[in-house]
Symmetry: none
Subunit: 405 residues, 2 copies
């Protein structure tokens, strides 16, 4: 067998960084003997997931890495979150991410309603009592999170969000239509905000929360509006039968919307405490039935957003240990990369290139012997774009799409 | 403070080169301890200012480096020269660069009228006596140079130039309209050429020149025709409050047309004898009031055009000495690059990539320890395009424009 047959695509979410004062990064500091071995055996490079200097969102980054033309298919994050929490969205649906929040006299006083944890009965009430001028689906997600999907004719994502994104601001109860054809959608969303406040205001859960000095969840703030895109199934694009293993709704949703099989993992949380070992076990199982497995490990991104260098470093050390139990040989092409840089110095995504490595049959192994931002820049792949990654990988499988004769 | 706050963008005009027989370049030969220190502390790469193998003009190069989409905004050099010599051009104006020249029996016998130096009274005569079928502005520039701006309805830059660009050729008195809608402009320019010859032919300055055996400036050759583009102000694009320090009208004009503050420098000539120390003093002052300073140093380009390896090398040594007086620390992101390669072997711009370095907070410093075409190709930035440079820099300031969520 002269070419690899399968692909394991590992996204260490937000793992890349910028140097701190000590000229180092978590990836450079973490103890990663397994990744370093893959680096020795494989080829490295740096990658502009969207473009040089453009900070990617996690959504656009994953779409680009999977080979989708983000500029054409992406209008907002909502659709992927909605698919991720299990709503069976359809192309054309308008989807939002939502937060249960606390408002008082029209002002947002807590964007997470005191980090409320259990919202099922609140969501039940919304589903039962809400009446909108179009079909809708509403579902609670983890913690204070939820999603709203509007379905019907003449709906548009070209409206502003109701979430002011900061405390003390007025709830933008009336979203602004960005063009005349979006007025109807803006009115429906306005109706949603108004009715939800009435439904939740006197809900027993909230009365009990107020009685026990907790903030009531008496509003739902919406953001990330997007139109559900028509995505050509990943298998039709690549010939690969794909599974996704991830904890965050977003990545699960992208997997579902591209037709991947989602394999849930017990104890996978998307935080630094996630059960990565269990994920790796699932990967080993999935590789027996699938020719492509997307594994997203989220913790490093979270530590980056928290600005916690040590937590990020320790998490990456733990990731390396877990990955060392991968049951893969040269016949599986393994790619390790990040979807974006999340510098602890910025606590936000940045547009710095991310390092990547590819190991498996057919790669032109270079002289590198460690996996980090610095070594990768000296790797044999030089610098590529995120949307080039899937063509490179499928070509390594001997499935490149020839242009010309 | 975890990110740099300001940008100093240094363009060593035409400084890059190709190897001579001795496999070396002026940048490699020059004594540049300051640039080498920046290289050690920063990150290097090579850059296709326009595209691989495409020799950039100084105009398109600077526009691209500043992040403007040259393919959309650039129709010719005239508009930038005109703005640079102080004409308050408006979008839609048609502008030309001009040369005072000597013609005899309709043939160009000297494109620079014996390198005439003082043309103010000739220009005054043109302004006073010329009558065109549209509003016009004419202004002398340094030496034999001048600019012409046509203003009004139905004007077009799609005409050929009147400057034949070589001796012994007929003055192209009647420029050719490239399409029907450009005929009016061609006729106006024809009128300009005809009237200017009459106005200058018997001008006292020329009579005196002939009497003293100097070539008369009895014609104005036009080239570089372009339509003044609408350029979104640099500050609106980047959030940076910018100043430009340069000697050449072109770069000053680009600065003015993008809304930068132009800071004149005493003794800055654009030649190898330029007062670079004075420019550096001005940079140090400008960085106190501005968050972006563009410094163009022209001499190396001139030496390249002259094919003078030693002059180019000595100039770069002198540049390094002057730059070592920059009052900058890590909180100012400094970028050093060239707008294009001007090989002494070609005496013209070439399409070779140019080296660049970035030093300041947040850059992933690489292993390089000198600044030249060879070392830069091994740098941690690998290879980027000119139009990616500004997004990379603003992202390093923590002002990257995120795509996605």
């Amino acid at each position: 067998m002269c070419v690899a047959k399968k692909i394991l695509f590992v996204v260490l979410d937000g793992a890349a960084d910028r140097p701190t004062a000590a000229t180092t990064t978590p990836l450079r500091t973490a103890d990663t003997p397994f990744l370093d071995r893959l680096a020795r055996e494989g080829i490295l490079g740096i990658m502009d997931v969207i473009g040089p200097g453009t900070p990617p969102g996690s959504d656009t980054a994953h779409l680009s890495l999977l080979g989708y033309p983000v500029n054409e298919v992406y209008t907002g994050r909502g659709p992927f979150e909605a698919a991720g929490v299990g709503i069976n969205v359809r192309p054309g649906d308008i989807a939002f991410r939502g937060n249960f929040a606390t408002i008082k006299d029209g002002v947002v006083i807590d964007r997470r309603a005191g980090r409320i944890d259990e919202t099922k009965s609140l969501s039940d009430a919304i589903r039962a009592q809400l009446h909108l001028d179009c079909e809708f689906l509403f579902k609670e997600s983890t913690g204070h999170r939820a999603v709203l999907v509007l379905r019907g004719e003449d709906l548009s994502p070209r409206i502003t969000q109701t979430d002011p994104k900061r405390l003390g601001a007025l709830l933008q109860s009336k979203p602004i239509a960005k063009d005349a054809s979006s007025r109807r959608t803006a009115n429906i969303v306005n109706d949603f905000t108004r009715q939800v406040s009435l439904i939740l205001g006197n809900h027993p859960v909230n009365l009990e929360r107020v009685r026990t000095n907790q903030l009531p969840a008496n509003a739902v703030l919406l953001r990330g509006v997007g139109s559900v895109p028509h995505l050509v199934p990943f298998e039709r694009r690549t010939g690969l039968n794909a599974a996704v293993i991830a904890a965050t709704a977003l990545v699960i949703g992208i997997g579902k919307l591209t037709g991947m099989r989602y394999i849930p993992t017990k104890g996978a949380t998307g935080h630094v405490d996630s059960n990565i070992d269990e994920k790796v076990k699932n990967v080993n199982k999935a590789l027996k039935r699938h020719t492509f497995v997307l594994l997203n490990i989220k913790g490093a991104d979270e530590a980056g957003h928290d600005g916690d260098f040590n937590a990020k470093t320790q998490f990456l050390t733990r990731v390396d240990e877990a990955l060392s139990n991968l049951a893969i040989d040269e016949s599986t092409l393994v790619i390790i990369t990040a979807d974006h840089t999340t510098p602890v110095s910025l606590k936000e995504h940045s547009g710095d290139p991310v390092p990547f490595l590819i190991r498996g049959k057919g790669v032109r192994a270079d002289q590198t012997s460690a996996f980090n931002e610095y070594i990768a820049a000296r790797g044999g792949m030089d610098r590529i774009y995120g949307h080039d990654m899937m063509p490179v990988l499928t070509d390594l499988l001997g499935k490149g799409v020839k242009f010309g004769a």
